[in-house]
């Protein structure tokens, strides 16, 4: 058992997958920081809070604006891979503090972003597709006149990549399990919130003609269509939880996942969550592998 865990987690591979994921994840963090700046009031004493810990208190509007501005700076740096580890710590501290101020502000994608940032903080995600990698390459070239000087290392530990992949599967697993109830599968919950969400969806209105959007909203108001959507959702999420893990089913799972999140984005305006989840499929891309420390 230990040996199997060791051979799964303690491996080395290309830094490219995690590097590309970091860039896309950085975009999601920038979106989040920008939205926080628009919602500063949610984190100040002007509204009643349920802090996760008593020692966490809401701060003044100007302080929260400063915190979120720094979060934006850290998120941009992290996406670019500039001072990668420091900027990951900065994102974690600024968004983490805001997250703990009030349980009423809990949103799943923010929680997911915090978990993923924590993992990335201890990873080699800045080793490729990053300003840090370019600076390191230029430094080696200038200082050591290095001829054989690749832009990024060929092998890095990819434990973090494995953990993020499993984290994503865990999200899908519980999303499916919590929905696999008679109440949800009856279609009632979806029939109540989907029609309004579809009509108000900014992404949907931008991407689809109004009559198509209206027809979709009307269909989802009926429990037969919403029950079908509920069953499809649970089926897709359940399949993703398992399908992403195994090579033979991975491509199909990626297609299902992209379709699922595209649908959610179009109908419910939930973009950041889908962006992080689908980008994390890259963590299952391991073009080459070897045991850590092997030469």
């Amino acid at each position: 058992m230990i040996e199997r865990l060791r051979s799964y987690f303690l491996v080395e591979g290309s830094p490219l997958s995690l590097g590309i994921f970091r860039v896309i994840f950085g975009v999601a963090l920038v979106i989040e920081a920008t939205q926080n700046l628009k919602r500063v009031g949610y984190y100040t004493p002007s509204t009643f809070h349920f802090p996760y810990f008593d020692w966490i208190s809401p701060l003044s509007e100007s302080t929260m604006t400063t915190i979120f501005t720094w979060q934006l700076v850290f998120a941009v740096c992290f996406g670019l891979g500039f001072l990668t580890r420091l900027s990951a710590a900065g994102v974690l501290l600024t968004q983490g503090y805001a997250f703990l101020i009030c349980a009423l502000n809990f949103r799943n994608h923010v929680y997911l972003e915090l978990l993923v940032t924590t993992v990335l903080l201890f990873s080699a995600c800045g080793a490729a597709v990053s300003v840090d990698a370019v600076i390191g390459w230029a430094w080696r070239r200038w200082r050591h006149k290095a001829q054989d000087n690749p832009m990024h290392p060929e092998w890095v530990p990819i434990t973090a990549q494995r953990v993020i992949g499993l984290q994503i599967c865990c999200v899908y697993l519980y999303a499916a399990l919590h929905k696999a109830t008679p109440g949800f599968l009856s279609g009632y919950p979806l029939s109540r919130f989907l029609p309004r969400a579809i009509r108000n969806s900014t992404v949907g209105r931008w991407a689809l003609p109004p009559d198509v959007l209206q027809a979709a909203a009307d269909a989802m108001a009926t429990e037969s269509w919403s029950a079908l959507a509920a069953w499809l959702t649970v089926g897709a999420e359940g399949f993703l939880a398992v399908g992403l893990l195994f090579r033979p089913t991975r491509l199909a799972a990626v297609c299902v996942g992209i379709a699922l999140h595209l649908g959610i984005g179009l109908t419910m305006d939930i973009v950041t969550f889908g962006l992080v989840m689908t980008a994390a499929y890259l963590c299952f891309w391991t073009p080459r592998l070897r045991a850590q420390g092997a030469r």
Partner: protein
Amino acid sequence: MAKHIKLIAAVGFVAIQLLVPLWPTFVHPSQVRTDFAWDMFATRRDCKPCHLLESVNGKPPQKVGWGRLYRSTFHVARTRNAGRLPKAALEVCRRHAEQGQTAAVFIDCKCTWNGEPEVYNLDAYGKDYCSAEARERFGD
């Protein structure tokens, strides 16, 4: 040694992530919102009515506008559970006390889950939340 620590950290992280979302299984959804559970949109609650009622200086009870506590309807919706409503009621009491007013605050909130017929009363206390007994029971 470093490899052992890395392995323990990775396995521990995944194990925690597998365990944490189980917690709503042990708590009725009327008690608290199911944060950290990845149960996105799994439950639909319909609450009619759901508000706080206040009687200030002996006047007849009136609804407390949620805008007095919150700036977002999102926050109002997330307050609608049996764990958080008493805290909100206590906050209204505290604000009246600060202004030197005598107030009684009650909760009137009945909800259904996923369209099921059973109606849950989210006011398990059923009495004035400005009382010393309520402060002791629901205060921090």
